[in-house]
Amino acid sequence: MKTLYILLICLFLVSVTNAQERFLTKNGMISFFSKTPIEDIKAENNQVLSIVDVSNGQMAIAILMKSFMFEKALMQEHFNENYVESDKYPKATFKGDVLDFDKIVGSETATTIKGNLTIHGVTNETTIEAVIKKTVDLLEITGDFFINLSDFDVKIPSIVQNKISQKIKVSFRFQHKPYKK
């Protein structure tokens, strides 16, 4: 009888670990927006990799800086060469947790994501408000937040200072699907 129980427990554990625990997207969207009276600057990145472990709400995001597409080629050049130094720091990353992930069910739920955001080689602890939608085969996370350029040691030359906002609005939309190999 005892062995039967052990066997059953083993089977249960196997089935749990086999369940699709990871949700992933390779074409998540992140855009940012800088607003000043002189010029609005916008860039969009549609190749963001985001992985969520639905067993514990852990989240990992990787972003290629060169995948940010600007309306003007010159802005893109300045962004990559002077401001975020993409050759030196080709990626931005985020590692964190969706708080109270197990309480999220079904339709849109407001939630908080807390973790470490690394841009331009500088890591800051960040808290982000987001909306999560969870179904069997889709985990959608959307939201926006502001970052300060000075927090990430991004220096803007004084000559263009009034064209680029110190506070940048970042928006994101990730539609994670269950990960299958």
Binding site: K26, N27, A73, L74, D87, P90
Partner: protein
């Protein structure tokens, strides 16, 4: 008389500099379709280079126009955005080619399993090597 001349010369110079400044400010993006590829190779070779030494591969491939040859494993459509995934010798990684806006119409002829050559700008490596603004060169 002399003053007038100086003023007119100054005017011409300032007009020219405004014009040049405007031109630089509005510099167009690289047109991948019109440019020749800097590097041509297979999807497997590209992925191997990145998985072996990412820093070296970044220096070699980033911002370059790369022509890549491979077998189509997936075609993703989402709104106006289209992406073609190319198979590599690696089970986990692949090369994902995000198509340029104007190119998206030509995707109807592309089928899973066929060999294809695409040309695009490399932006880096996450789980897969990523090319953006891709155009289809050869889909025979």
């Amino acid at each position: 008389m002399k003053v007038k001349r100086i003023i007119s010369v100054l005017l011409v110079i300032s007009f020219l500099s405004i014009f040049i400044g405007y031109k630089i400010y509005n510099k167009p993006h690289i047109n991948v379709a019109e440019e020749a590829a800097d590097i041509a190779l297979t999807a497997s070779m590209l992925l191997i280079d990145f998985s072996k030494d990412e820093t070296k591969a970044n220096a070699k491939y980033l911002d370059k126009i790369i022509a890549v040859k491979g077998v189509v494993t997936n075609i993703a459509e989402e709104g106006e955005k289209r992406a073609i995934t190319l198979q590599t010798s690696d089970d986990f990684g692949s090369v994902i080619c995000y198509l340029a806006k104007d190119e998206s119409m030509n995707i109807a002829a592309v089928k899973k399993g066929q060999a294809i050559v695409l040309k695009g700008i490399c932006t880096g490596f996450l789980m897969d090597v990523i090319l953006v603004k891709c155009v289809i060169i050869n889909s025979k």
